[in-house]
């Protein structure tokens, strides 16, 4: 056999074997039980080993400058959080904070977020346990997303869950709005199977990946995101930066549209079933023995044009007033720990949205909540 013939045969063999391996690996990846992948991701992370865990869940719209990115893999997200690498000690009273971008700390450095401000208070309960707060907030407003995170947070043995929310998280159409919910099919379906949430598990918003989409090729972007999250860990360790905070931003809207409608509802028309109160019930249920403090989070109240009609960009006055009343009633009926903090922060302490706080605003909210939290920490049962 001459060398050209040998080379041709070698080339053919290489192509054949490479094709077989490619197909086989993709097929194996696609049929591998999700739990196995979860187990791997939970245990293989540079965070909390090579580099410190992140103070908040990974989220970033500008990865190159924030050294952070948004991904939908809950296992990788939690594995990168400091809570995953912090064993609970006897003298710790562990409090996890869940909620939207205001809890995560949009436009706030890590040392200014609500959880950091609460930690700075140095709260100690009557049993001598130090209250240690963990930021498990995540930008995007949806109660279902919060329940997803709350359920996952149970792995980290919290003694108290503080759940900050606002009316915008309640409409049914917001429940499946966030990519985190849309891309965690198996976990969301567990929530949806419960009648409490009243959401159709076959809703087209929920992404049900096909076989091809579950292969390595189909999952290349999510897989690359997990790897990038690890690599950005070095930058997180080097700089402590996990969010790009611009020098200036467009402030929250002061002048508002003369629009009284809210998700198609008009004044006087607020059926309870319009909103996913069931998610609150579900969340409280998942918390089990762990007490949950539900907080109606503070919001900016506009003084500008049409402020007689609307409180702010998000809410017409009538609907927000009705929501507050409804929340108080439902919480009382269900015996939930509920605190209405809607005016706990000075109106000047909001940044680019009606719910995002300045460092001072965050401090004010922490001071307001400290007393309520301590009450529960002293009487957790």
């Amino acid at each position: 056999m001459n060398s050209t013939k040998q080379d041709r045969s070698f080339l053919f063999q290489v192509v054949l074997r490479a094709t077989f391996l490619f197909i086989a690996l993709n097929a194996i990846f696609a049929v591998t039980p999700h739990e196995l992948g979860s187990l791997f991701l939970r245990n293989v992370s540079i965070y909390n080993t090579l580099v410190p865990g992140r103070e908040r869940l990974p989220f970033g719209e500008n990865p190159a400058e924030a050294y952070n990115l948004s991904l939908n893999n809950l296992d990788a997200m939690f594995a990168s959080h400091v809570i995953a690498g912090t064993p609970k000690v006897d003298d710790e009273f562990r409090v996890v904070l869940i909620g939207d971008s205001s809890v995560w700390g949009f436009l706030l450095e890590n040392e200014d977020t609500l959880s950091a401000q609460l930690n700075k208070q140095g709260l100690v309960n009557d049993a001598g346990q130090q209250l240690r707060f963990y930021n498990l907030g995540y930008p995007t407003i949806s109660l279902t997303k919060d329940v997803l995170l709350l359920k996952r947070a149970r792995h980290y043995q919290p003694d108290l869950v503080v759940w900050l929310t606002t009316l915008e998280a309640f409409p049914y159409e917001k429940q499946l709005f966030t990519p985190l919910v849309q891309n965690n099919l198996d976990k969301v379906l567990q929530l949806l199977r419960s009648d409490t949430l009243k959401i159709d598990p076959n809703d087209p918003a929920i992404i049900q990946p096909s076989f091809l989409e579950r292969t390595i090729v189909g999952q290349r972007r999510p897989l690359a995101d997990v790897v990038r999250l690890q690599l950005y860990g070095f930058m997180w360790a080097a700089t402590g930066v996990d969010q790009y905070i611009p020098d200036s931003y467009t402030p929250r809207a002061e002048y508002l549209e003369a629009d009284e409608s809210y998700y198609g509802l008009l004044p006087g028309d607020l059926p309870e079933e319009t909103f996913a109160f069931g998610a609150l019930e579900l969340g409280n249920g998942y918390a089990g023995e762990v007490p949950v403090l539900v907080v109606n989070e503070p919001m900016f109240i506009s003084q500008g044009e049409n402020s007689d009609i609307r409180y702010n960009f998000f809410y017409p006055r009538w609907v927000y007033d009705a929501y507050r009343q409804l929340m108080a009633e439902i919480s009382a009926t269900n015996q939930w720990n509920y605190v209405d903090a809607w005016q706990a922060v000075d109106n000047t302490e909001y940044t680019n949205s009606a719910i995002h706080l300045t460092p001072r605003g965050s401090q004010q909210l922490a001071s307001f909540l400290a007393e309520h939290i301590l009450d529960i920490a002293n009487n957790p049962d």
Binding site: T4, F10, A64, Y67, R228, F234, M235, A237, A238
Partner: protein, 468 residues
Amino acid sequence: MTLNQLLVFTTLALIAAPFFNSRWRGWTLMIGSVAAIYWLQPSTPIRNLDFWLPTATLGLTVLVWSLTREKEQENGPRADLIAGIVLLVTVLAIAAMRFLPFQITPSRPPQLYQVLIALVVLAAIGLILWRTASGKALSLNIGVASILLLFIVLKSHPLAENASAAIRGLTGQSTDLANAFDIRWLGFSYVAFRLLHTLRDRLSGRLPNVSLRDFTTYVIFFPAFTAGPIDRVERFIGDLENDFRLDASQTILGLKRIAIGVLMKFVVADSLALFALDPNNVFQTESTTWMWVLLYSYSLRIFFDFAGYTHIAIGIANLLSIQLPENFDRPYLKANLTAFWNSWHMTLAQWFRAYYFNPLTRWLRGRGWSITAIILIGQLTTMALIGLWHGVTWNFLIWGLWHGLGLFLHNRWADFAKSRITISNQAIANIGGALLTFHFVVLGWLWFALPELEQSLYALGILFGGGV
């Protein structure tokens, strides 16, 4: 070059290979390279500039060819006339894509009549140069000076900004928005080296006869267009003239080089880039340890990025039966700085050695300068020029001088140690030398990775104990 572009180039090379024969190969490579440089050109904020820049590359190529061409070539003017017409038609065809729903240029090409006028003017200038100035020392020197001037304008921020403002004025766009980065002329640095090489070789009478078709293919050969290597024209046309034979072993070799390049560039280098030192993160880093990590990451990243591109270029060229020269040979493992520069961006170093260092040192020797002074001046100015080739800034100059000084010191040390020091354990000496050389190069990257003096000095301070 993106991964998609690479895939297209590789596939086209493999598909086209069996249909090549010696007659069509040259034409296919020229037309393919012309189309590729328009496709590779990134978009610019100045209207139609992403079309005019590749056109200018072709224009420069044709003009330099006109200047360097022997009046009496083997194939006579007919073959070159055909090549000129093919070039013209190819560019017009690319411009005519403005009437199609898709274009290979990043934005819609300009009006066809504008392109036609530009090409006719260019052809006329080329013809006049060929008739009147071809091969004359004065015109060749003017050619060298013009390319150097263009180079300086593009690589110097204030001048590039002024140039941008001037072009913006011509296109009716706001000159207030002019920016040095507006003129993203892809491949110009490497094109300039190839053109200078041919002009200088024509001056010294070493340039072989090259047809317009082969000359154009040499200058804009698409695998090496964006990041080298810098080939020599006589070697390149030798490959072009050889019978094309893509056999299985050459295919394996080409694909292997491409695969290694993809791994180095798109996996390793792009991953390292996420935590490599850059102007955004330098002041955010206050820890000595992490500053070293970021600097190491940058050092490895620049190697894997550049060497990866070279592998890809050589691999694609292999599939087209062109053997491009090697550009890297495990430079970070070399035991001294001279060996490093003989294995890092080798074709650039060879270019400067041939066209600057050797003539300069010969000239200084002729004037009776001492060896030490000749080496010092030669190394410092050569490396300073290599630094400035990357951009006319203080930091690039310092980077060049840093290496120039390092090369000089190594040269003197090697000369001193040769007869005085006996090394008992060569392996340990090599490891120690490699570590020392690597760290010398790594510290040099401080001036290369960061554009401002202040940033480099800050990083240097943190690296040596100023951190927390």
